[in-house]
């Protein structure tokens, strides 16, 4: 499925991808009085709760803990939202699968782009926070977009597999919820990786999301460039997840219209 021809085809369908993503994005805020503010409010409320609980524990160790926490939450939310929405990307749109034809990965790609739009919106809160707390990013912030793109492709790879599997096994959504919950605590979001003893840190850091969040904080808040080896590891994980996700999707796709 990941052939040059298919990529060309996706390019021809770019209008559709963006239109679906944008209309989904708009729909999320359409009927609520506060509109876009909801998506700003959600990470803020979470931040407040977590900050109140954890700031006393962490303050001594972590500089700019509120920003540290907020960035972690936003980046993790991106993964959580992207995959959770995509699980419904195929099953939730039966008429688009059964009554018309376009390459079905478009449904998943557009859902991930919707999640991307929501995350960009949330990032506005983060930028405001940086201004308020007078934290100016250093030159190392140039790594941020690179890591962000890697995260996007991890999400896309996972979403491909999850959306396709959920067509045949409807409990995938519950299992995945559980994994995301555990992942939230198993990933250095509330805490820095340094709270673990040196000898077990590498186990935690096998998780590419732990790497990504740590490196993104380092380059944005603390002016530390990521280690090339770590970036390479994350890139390798991204490629594996992405290719595997697409392979699963391509294998299951032919019977989507029958199995929904």
């Amino acid at each position: 499925m990941l052939t040059g021809y298919h990529i060309q085809e996706l390019y021809r369908y770019r209008d559709l991808i963006l239109r679906l993503a944008w209309s989904d994005f708009k729909l999320r805020y359409k009927s609520s009085a506060l509109g876009f503010f909801w998506s700003l409010l959600e990470p803020l409320l979470m931040l407040v709760v977590l900050y109140v609980v954890f700031s006393n524990l962490m303050r001594t160790q972590v500089e700019h803990y509120q920003l540290f926490l907020l960035l972690g939450i936003i980046l993790w939310n991106f993964l959580d939202r992207g995959t959770s929405m995509s699980i419904w990307g195929i099953v939730g749109k039966p008429s688009l699968v059964q009554k018309v034809y376009f390459p079905r990965d478009i449904l998943v790609i557009s859902t991930c782009i919707t999640a991307l739009m929501m995350t960009v919106l949330e990032s506005v809160v983060f930028i405001i926070f940086m201004v308020v707390f007078r934290v100016m990013p250093e030159m190392t912030v140039v790594y941020f977009p690179i890591l962000f793109i890697l995260e996007f492709f991890i999400i896309l790879g996972l979403s491909m597999a999850l959306s396709a599997l959920n067509v045949y096994f409807r409990d995938v959504q519950f299992i995945w919820r559980l994994i995301v919950q555990v992942g939230f605590f198993g990933t250095p979001i509330l805490y820095p990786i340094t709270i673990f003893p040196e000898r077990i840190r590498w186990i935690v850091m096998l998780n590419p999301m732990a790497q990504i969040i740590t490196m993104m904080r380092d380059c944005t808040l603390y002016g530390i460039s990521p280690e090339p080896a770590n970036v390479a590891y994350v890139a390798a994980c991204t490629v594996v997840l992405f290719v595997l996700g697409y392979a699963i999707f391509a294998h299951l796709e032919p019977r989507f219209a029958e199995a929904i």
Binding site: Q98, K99, V100, Y101, F102, F169, A257, E258
Partner: protein, 396 residues
Amino acid sequence: MTAAVEVQGLWKTFRIPHERRTTLFENLMGLIRPNQYEIFTVLNEVNFQAQNGECVGIIGDNGSGKSTLLKIIANILRPSRGAIKVKGKVTPFLELGVGFQPDLTVRENISVYGTVMGLSRKEIRDGMDEVIDFAGMRKFEDSKLKNLSSGMQVRLAFSTAIQTQPDILLVDEVLAVGDLDFQQKCFDVFNRYRQDGVTILLVSHDLNAVRRFCDKALLLRKGKQVAYGETGRIIDKYIYREEEHVIPVENKKTRWGNKKMEILGVKFMDKNDKENSNFLSGDPFIARIYYEAHEPISSPVFGIVFYTQDTYCYGTTTNFEHMDTGMVVGKGHADFFLNRLPLIEGSFQVTVALAPPNYEFAYDWHDRLYSFQVHRVNQNQGIFDMDGYWKLEKYE
């Protein structure tokens, strides 16, 4: 001419599990106890070609695989065996308004649906006003879709869908929705497409639409291709099918009489002298009434009445037509002939009866025990096709 759609040796089977397993847990348990499948063949060796610019009607009973065939040509389902070759851009009209979002406005929905139907951003921008005007929705362009009636939504969907410029159009029963006015609009649009040289595959139960519209027809029966060719011949083949039809059995409330002379059964015969319950309007029709007289009966009267729903359409007897049946004993049959079935369309019930010439009682009365279907061949309305014609004289 080149083939726009070529279907070769197409098979489609669905695997229907005896129990449906939709969770991972059930599937894991299934490793221990394998699930059993029923293989259901929906399409069985279908072969045909639609030439460029041709309009092909696909007809057959429910469950004969018509829609599945369209979906396979549209690439929504994949064939189990066989090959499909399609030349050009395929646009399926299997359902109108795919991807409509009730919470978005009319304009936004036109954009989304237009994109789903394969229109470019520019085409949508340029066509927007035309769509809104065609659907007659100038006043509502910025209201939410959910505030429109379902009829208006269909109109909007249709107006948007016809902006597409396909090479091959797949249509599934779209014409069935909407009022006469809307159906006429559909026809006009499809005729325009046809003049533009678009190849059209049309699935429909409306045989008259197929007749008016299609150059060729494909008849499917239980997934098998029965015939493919010129429309009129194929429709004939569909209506005057070869297998036997069972005529409904008697029911006590709808049958009475002293049974000195009995009606054993009634068969409707078509123009091929085959028993049938489907007829085309205007074709020959015979009702054959089998009787048995248990004792000699003098001049029994045979009667027949046609109903549609509760409307009494027509009734006649041998007596009214001045036919004396003479002395009757034993078995035989009486034929009631119509050289030209003058009914337009619908389901008709038939009463047959045997009575003495003074109609004081009945020997045997089968009240609306038999029925047959009439399929239209033109656009006339009502019950009877009265052979009317028009003439116009202009004074100036």
